[in-house]
């Protein structure tokens, strides 16, 4: 799964990882893990991230060819 959290974070006013983490109620390490592709967030967290970054989940996360069943 490809994610665009980091790029959108900078595109939306250069929020720091800590700021974004505080907005969505997780630790900074979780934001780090999501941006590194080490962790796939739950639907709820994905929706919260999308709202915090003023975008949609589809624009934040997208499936790659290898993800298709």
């Amino acid at each position: 799964m490809r994610q665009h959290v980091r790029s959108l974070r900078f595109a939306r006013g250069e929020k720091s990882q800590a700021d974004l983490a505080a907005r969505v109620g997780v630790s900074r390490q979780t934001i780090v893990a999501i941006e590194k592709g080490d962790y796939s967030p739950s639907v709820k967290l994905a929706l919260l991230l999308a709202r915090a970054l003023n975008t949609t989940v589809e624009k934040l996360f997208e499936l790659e060819a290898r993800d298709h069943a």
Partner: protein
């Protein structure tokens, strides 16, 4: 790094009580330590303090718990098989398996965090902290106390340094681990016997986390050019070389001198056979009760000679009375060590027994696991040397607290605790 939160302070309070217990009454503290460690995952799993863990942390907690459960299950199966094979097991073995599972849980939890700069130093600080704690609890005279605490304190310093120089610290840790393995295995080969169970478990509990810490620190990302880190090349090389020399010197000094008689292969009272690996020496089984080296030994006792033919220890088929003391027997880990002339050197007691007025503790795998040797030791002339007190007692006018090591000098005067 996590900021101290409510659960942290609750766990710290439990740990403080555990340390106080360990210092004063010496019982129950280990279980409290385990409780302190498991407080956070337990409260989170129960849905309490939901604000203190996000979904990724909860997932990692569950994964780590599953890994620990796997180790626990395997350990219990292994102990069950050993018990079915006739190996007598005390509750200490179960606690040792529990500790292995907890170690697995802690390491899995840290590795899942994925940040080398957090994992490595934390593991080193934990190892150093526990070694220093056990060294402190070991007690003794002020000089001895210092020497007991120094190894743990050194690892704590290494853990702090790892935050600034991760690769150098990782290299040093791995060299220390290699040197310790070299020393333990070398000592085992030269003594002609496998490592005692407790020593092997203690090594496992200390060396596996150390290897994980060393490996993740070595893989830590390099510092950005122009950062304020100190150069690591020269310091690392010098430190590593120094450690290798020191470790090899220690290893070579641990090899005992080889003097003494050959195994009694021609003596009809014994059935002798060399171990598969000749380096592990020869075992001679006494077929029936008889006097050996001036001491009455029961039938079935196995006398072990190292590869140089020196008599180093005997083991008993079951708990037996030898020389007026009921000694522990039953499996390979319990070796009653002797001087080459057969005089007792270090004995595992089957139950608490009084030796020259000192109530000495019995064999305990936990005692050995935490380096709190509980063997009754003797001087070459047969005079009682030391053991760990099984209860509060007064010796030569000195109050000896339960759990303290009591040591006499060669003339019979109390040497420590001072």
């Amino acid at each position: 790094m996590r900021k101290p939160d409510t659960i942290f302070w609750m766990a710290s309070a439990i740990s403080a009580v555990a340390v106080a217990l360990a210092v004063t009454v010496d019982d129950g503290w280990l279980l409290l330590m385990v409780g302190a460690y498991l407080l956070r995952p337990t409260l989170l799993a129960m849905g309490l303090f939901p604000a203190l863990a996000d979904e990724r942390e909860m997932l990692n907690q569950y994964r780590a718990g599953n890994a620990a459960f796997g180790v626990l299950a395997l350990g219990v199966v292994a102990l069950t098989i050993a018990a079915m094979g006739g190996t007598p097991l005390d509750s200490g073995f179960l606690i040792a398996v529990l500790l292995l599972a907890l170690m697995t849980r802690a390491l899995t939890r840290l590795v899942l965090d994925g940040d080398a700069m957090i994992i490595g130093p934390r593991i080193l600080l934990a190892i150093g902290g526990f070694l220093a704690l056990f060294g402190f609890l070991e007690g003794g005279e002020p000089g001895a106390l210092l020497s007991h605490v120094v190894p743990g304190a050194s690892i704590i310093v290494l853990g702090v340094a790892a935050r600034r120089w991760p690769r150098a610290a990782g290299a040093i840790v791995l060299v220390i681990v290699a040197a310790l393995l070299w020393q333990f295995i070398g000592t085992s080969v030269s003594a002609g016997r496998p490592l005692p169970t407790g020593t092997a478990m203690a090594m496992t509990l200390i060396l596996i986390p150390a290897v994980v810490a060393g490996a993740v620190l070595l893989r830590a990302p390099a510092r950005e050019p122009g950062s304020d880190s100190a150069p690591t090349g020269t310091g690392t090389s010098a430190g590593v070389a120094l450690l290798v020399v020191a470790a090899l010197a220690a290893a070579s000094s641990a090899v005992p001198d080889s003097v003494g008689a050959q195994p009694p292969s021609a003596d009809p009272r014994f059935e002798c056979k060399s171990r598969k690996n000749a380096a592990f020496g020869t075992d001679c089984r006494l077929t029936k009760s008889d006097t050996v080296y001036g001491r009455q030994l029961p039938g079935g006792a196995v006398l072990h000679y190292d590869s140089a033919g020196v008599y180093v220890f005997y083991s008993l088929y079951r708990n037996e009375t030898v020389g007026g003391l009921e000694l522990a027997g039953g499996h390979d880990g319990i070796s009653q060590e002797v001087y080459p002339d057969g005089a007792a050197q270090a004995l595992w007691l089957a139950r608490p027994q009084e030796i020259e007025g000192v109530p000495c503790r019995a064999f305990s795998i936990l005692g050995e696991l935490f380096q709190r040797t509980e063997r009754a030791k003797f001087y070459p002339n047969g005079r009682f040397r030391s053991c760990r007190s099984a209860q509060d007692t007064t010796i030569q006018g000195r109050l000896i607290k339960k759990g303290r090591n009591v040591e006499f000098d060669a003339t019979g005067n109390v040497k420590s605790p001072g």
